[in-house]
């Protein structure tokens, strides 16, 4: 069935495809959607929330480690490892790439480069968060539309 531009499901399809085209999401996000079928309806929303909360904590710790007079590269590498892992799992492609680049700078002990690349990590995280917010909003619309359709069904 061809979807119209006002069809919420088609809008969500198109949006996710656009996010793929822009490199913001990758196949790993698709794998989550496939896993969703086995789980509760709010699985994706809960997972995104989990990822976002943890990522913000990691970013705060990296910020602190970078701000020290004696930069704590060990903590940066440790937190970045976790951030990189969860980002890859959630399918945040561009953010993952930014984390990889920052990791190289941290391994080299290059504070200036770390500062520059960490800025990019934070920018990509904000982009990814906005993407997830949009997806969550569209999914809520789909679910509420489905609920309204069921209520209109004759008994």
């Amino acid at each position: 069935m061809a979807g119209s531009s006002t069809d919420p499901t088609q809008q969500l399809n198109d949006y996710i495809r656009t996010m793929h085209d822009q490199g913001i999401l990758d196949d790993n996000f698709d794998q989550l959607l496939a896993l969703r079928r086995e789980q509760n309806p709010r699985f994706i929303t809960e997972l995104i929330s989990m990822f976002t909360n943890d990522a913000e904590a990691y970013i705060a710790e990296i910020t602190n480690a970078l701000s020290l007079t004696e930069v704590d590269f060990s903590t940066i590498i440790s937190k970045l490892h976790q951030l990189k892992g969860s980002t890859s799992g959630i399918g945040g492609h561009r953010m993952y790439q930014a984390c990889c680049e920052l990791r190289v700078a941290a391994d080299d002990g290059d504070k200036d480069r770390c500062d520059e690349l960490f800025l990019r990590v934070k920018e990509e995280f904000n982009t990814l968060k906005q993407c997830f917010d949009s997806i969550s909003e569209m999914r809520r619309n789909i679910i509420s539309n489905g609920t309204r359709r069921r209520r209109r069904r004759p008994l």
Binding site: L12, G89, I143
Partner: protein, 156 residues
Amino acid sequence: MAPTLPSGDQASDQDNWDNGRLARKRQLLTEIVLRNRLTALVVDGDTTCRVLEQLLLRSYGVQTQGVDNGRDAVALIASGVKFNLIIIDMILPVLNGLEATRQIRDMGVHCKMLGVTACSGESERQAFLAAGVDVFIEKPLDPEHLVPILRELDGQ
């Protein structure tokens, strides 16, 4: 063959996914039916990764337990709990994955161990394999790597 869709409010949006990648991933999720009850321990310091790996395993019917650091993993194994599969990250709080793996192997544990980590260098790979993991997988854990291993463990 695409899986049968359940009824309910997820059916319409699932029906309308026209993403070929999604269909392929979904087929991978339904590709295997285990004959035996398998158990797995997931050791990862990151909540999202640990939850994802456990969910993926459970989607194949594997019973899972998760811990968030290497020390607890070693303690759990030392207490006598047995697993068919251990999935362990390299960088872990408290006790790192390399040392935890060595200690688990030193206990005489021979189960399949997968080193699933965000570290991607050859030196990391060699170090993890030398520590005792059977397979080194760069995150994220995906069906392409997992299904053949589950088949092997299930004796298929």
